[in-house]
Symmetry: C2
Subunit: 223 residues, 2 copies
Amino acid sequence: MSSALPKAPRRGLADEAADLVRAAIFSGHFPPGAALREVELAAHLDVSRGSVREGLAQLEREGLVRSGWHRGTTVIDVTAQDVEEVYTLRAALDRLAATTARRTATSEQLSRLDQLIADMAAEIAGTADTRRLVTLDIAFHDQIYTAAGNGRLTTAWQAIRSQLHLFQLRRADAGYDHYRARVVDEHRELAALLRSGDRRTLARLAEEHVDSARRSLLAGLPD
Amino acid sequence: MSSALPKAPRRGLADEAADLVRAAIFSGHFPPGAALREVELAAHLDVSRGSVREGLAQLEREGLVRSGWHRGTTVIDVTAQDVEEVYTLRAALDRLAATTARRTATSEQLSRLDQLIADMAAEIAGTADTRRLVTLDIAFHDQIYTAAGNGRLTTAWQAIRSQLHLFQLRRADAGYDHYRARVVDEHRELAALLRSGDRRTLARLAEEHVDSARRSLLAGLPD
DNA sequence: TGATGTCCCAATGTTGACATTAGAACATCA
DNA sequence: TGATGTTCTAATGTCAACATTGGGACATCA
């Protein structure tokens, strides 16, 4: 939660409002399709409508909500097509991130990947809190994008990151055991290829890693 | 400029403000690094600061401007690293868009590509307005993304589209003749492979198309 | 003289009030 | 009775005033 220097990034109320609403969506307080009324949120969060409005615009950038002219803002629905779109794009982004990070990652960043894998393994051996497992999974990929060091690529990743989080959460709630069974091995293999794999093999694995996730999620979607 | 049905999408003032400022940036009225003051813009566009603010946030999504806490908004600078980042990401996105469109494009959409190529050729044979040529070039790729039909992919494309436009404009202003010499052939080849090429060849060409553009732009950047 | 602290102002962040709109409920007519 | 036009209202879009902040100019001191 803290770097060497927290660098205290003074943020605006809009950012905090966005964080709060995002957390509420992840927690299930606002289910898919729910309407997010500005006045209601403003009163509940004790900030002005302007700030809430700006925060919602931020969530729209992340693809978590949709809004239209005078039609308000609603939480996105999780349809099969949404899943298809997000995972297809993610495969392309992950492929680029991995092959780039293979050249640019520092040994420190690579050890951080090992640490995250160890955390996953510990979590599975322990209480196996699937919610936390998903967070670690995403943090692992965050780290790869950071190591790649391409700001625009990271922005594109963040534009689907929250949606992905929502999807994986739904996957977790439905109780997919084989996700827990394979998540550690798959990431360990990715980390190994990042260290000393050839580019093409790594590229293919990065794509397959995402494809397998997509298939397993789609299999459990009644939509 | 007009589809069969303009479908009159009632837009807010924020969107119009964004369009106006974007055009002003492209026209050179706001050069790279220029500060975009909210009060100034609001007065000039005759809208409130709130709308300007929202419009600027939109331009930030497009990567055309950057802003920080209490430090205002400025037009992005065009450094070598920026070019590197944008074109690298674009290669990955174009690759996915092309391989997807190869499966999903309708014959109508493919003919529209041919039409755009014809427009380019006519432009070169005529006045050779490089500014319009760049617009056609980007419209060509817009069409491929539309044909791919992946909303998230299109969003990711739009997040770098404006920056790309700015880069290509600079490239045009510097007067790169061999861009004009090759642009038609390259796009014709892309269109042909979209119709009847195998996936791997198309993927490679899509990447190379972007790579050649990047190299030619970087060669002319003193930064 | 140069490093440090203080003040000030221009610009952004925030807010509540007012204007406008989309959609639903109702009334009207063929 | 079903389609069309009207009214109403809750919610969003817009606005201008107020609060807060970052950075530079100036003064102060070792």
